[in-house]
Symmetry: C2
Subunit: 211 residues, 2 copies
Amino acid sequence: MGRTSDARNKILETAATLLEQRGYSALGVAEICATAGVPKGSFYYFFESKQALALTVIDEHWADQRRRWVELLGSDHEPLRRLRDLFEATEEVQRVGQRKAGLVTGCLFGNLALELSNQAEEVRRRLQEIFEAQIDLVERVIVEAKDRGQAGPSVDAHEAARSLVAQIEGRALLAKLLNDPAQLEALWRNGLDLLQVPPQVRAALDAESRG
Amino acid sequence: MGRTSDARNKILETAATLLEQRGYSALGVAEICATAGVPKGSFYYFFESKQALALTVIDEHWADQRRRWVELLGSDHEPLRRLRDLFEATEEVQRVGQRKAGLVTGCLFGNLALELSNQAEEVRRRLQEIFEAQIDLVERVIVEAKDRGQAGPSVDAHEAARSLVAQIEGRALLAKLLNDPAQLEALWRNGLDLLQVPPQVRAALDAESRG
């Protein structure tokens, strides 16, 4: 029992790394098994198909990321500070990835959304749920920011959350293309603009971050 | 001679469609030739490899898109109106694609950037050049907008152009994931925010578009 669940973990870990680095279509089950050092028979004991494996990788990655997002966006910091924490954590993830693998891998969900949306309906549905969940988490913080007068009164919290998530994905794309995590540094300024944060609030935030 | 360049065009057209729909790794030369109705020998007469073909597809797609961007962003409309024209044209391209294929295919360059950046150095370099060229074209319009007091004075034109291009890519990702071109509708509002367009300019633009 111990050995078999070990094999499952090895397959999952290897698949997560290879999926991040090379995408879905470029990968074969044989390669995943060889890299993980696990016989192909074990693979099909745990996973019905490559797609089933990818869905499990997506679920586990989202379970981790969701925990981190809930922690950062639900902290007792001021709402805008929480968004900044999220942006900085997102950049840090890409910096750590680059230090480990030499390359920025970008966002696993964004990578698979562009590669597979029109090829694997189940993957598309799962990624849709994940992006909507991300948007919901960000929206709650924007609602709080608005309540405190820290975001523009005419800002639609749900639409703005969608714009912030789109900006994260677009910046992650540039970071991957240029192999440069610093492309994500602008997220904070972009966020202030997209939320129409009033000048006096910006000035206070700048003073705080200098302090 | 007529027949051979016909074959080349057929291969290129087929490859462009398949690359947009399914990405690079999922495609094989045999499938491209079968779909184009061209013998495999002809393929290797025109293209050294699948990657060489992809680079040609990228170049031709950019030649078309660049022409359109230059036309829209260099028109005699007011600078912000030109950006709006670009956003609307971008949305329209996705609507037309959806009507033709039933599916939003997203941005070919964004798709390939996420799929291939870490696997094909020559593709990465080509896409880097294209995105930098897009950013430059947008930047020139932002400089004009700033000169006329239509964008915030503290806006860095180059950085803002980078943010707008990132926003287009992020919104194109959502449009593809949700098979919904309307995800690109927000680009205009996002653009006004990211450029810190002053309230009186926004009011004038709103009045104009209602007029």
